[in-house]
Symmetry: C2
Subunit: 173 residues, 2 copies
């Protein structure tokens, strides 16, 4: 199945000049979604995580689906102030300004935790790198990254640690 | 398994006086999460949806997991301005102020679509009711509601249409 043909390109979203890659047609298509999760499951089996982490909000869709398929737990990575109780957080720079990501300060993350980070899109790599640093603050280890879409021209891949596999299913040049 | 024992109660979140029910310990526990999705799958088979809709952001975790398990498509219901392209939207009242929910104006939603709406929590029912009305604006039919947690004292269940099943797995009085 040519997954790229199912992605919908929306011009000038969320701001002028950006050709947004919309995954909602993949989500609503059972065959396409099953193929995405099956491919991610195969790749996950190569890096052998024991927990999946996904980044709010589209990363929740992929990460929770994959965790359910693999029979593993899921760690939600959220924007500032969304998670209750004690959290571990990291501030990081965006193109304009700053943002903060948080995870629950959770007993299920420890030195034995091997985390696969998943998100819908690898663009400049800033959010993915911040997520890796955040996970490592909890003493867990990041064993890989998986994305549905990679915008290769933005070279986000170079920003991420070269010691772990980085997979994307659909590549745009 | 006593799922309620795994839910973490966090006092005064997101504001003073609210005893927040945190589902992150259910998510990170593979046995608990598998039981939740298995129970939801059984209940879904009773109402026979052909698409699952989930409400941003915690409803994405449950809805995408359930859709993947059932081999069905998933419709993300998002806050204002988050979805690209043409959308269908609905404004609804909150305790203080207003909010807006949107879905993509998507060819996969039509008169033959039978939608199961899922979310983490049924409280006053305002968001769930708005989601039902939003789905029906697309000409699709809502065949049921499923929640992990129901706060029975807030009587959200009464607000929802009595013609379709409303299920919750963990009830607080």
């Amino acid at each position: 199945m040519d997954l790229q043909k199912i992605v919908r390109e929306v011009p000038d979203f969320p701001k002028p000049g950006i050709q947004f890659k919309d995954i909602t047609p993949l989500l609503s298509n059972p065959s396409a979604w099953a193929e995405i999760i099956d491919q991610m499951e195969s790749l996950a089996n190569e890096v052998r995580p024991n927990l999946i982490a996904g980044i709010e909000a589209r990363g929740f869709l992929i990460g929770a689906s994959l965790a359910t398929k693999l029979g593993m737990g899921f760690i939600p990575v959220r924007k500032k102030g969304k998670l209750p109780g004690k959290t571990i957080g990291i501030d990081y720079e965006l193109e304009y300004g700053h943002d903060r990501l948080e995870i629950c300060s959770n007993e299920s993350l420890n030195k034995k935790s091997k985390i696969l980070i998943v998100d819908d899109l690898l663009a400049t790599g800033g959010t993915a790198l911040a997520t890796q640093r955040l996970i490592e603050k909890s003493t867990a280890t990041v064993v890989g990254f998986q994305f549905i879409i990679e915008l290769c021209s933005l070279k986000g891949r170079i920003k991420l640690p070269q010691s772990v596999p980085i997979h994307s299913l659909i590549k745009y040049n």
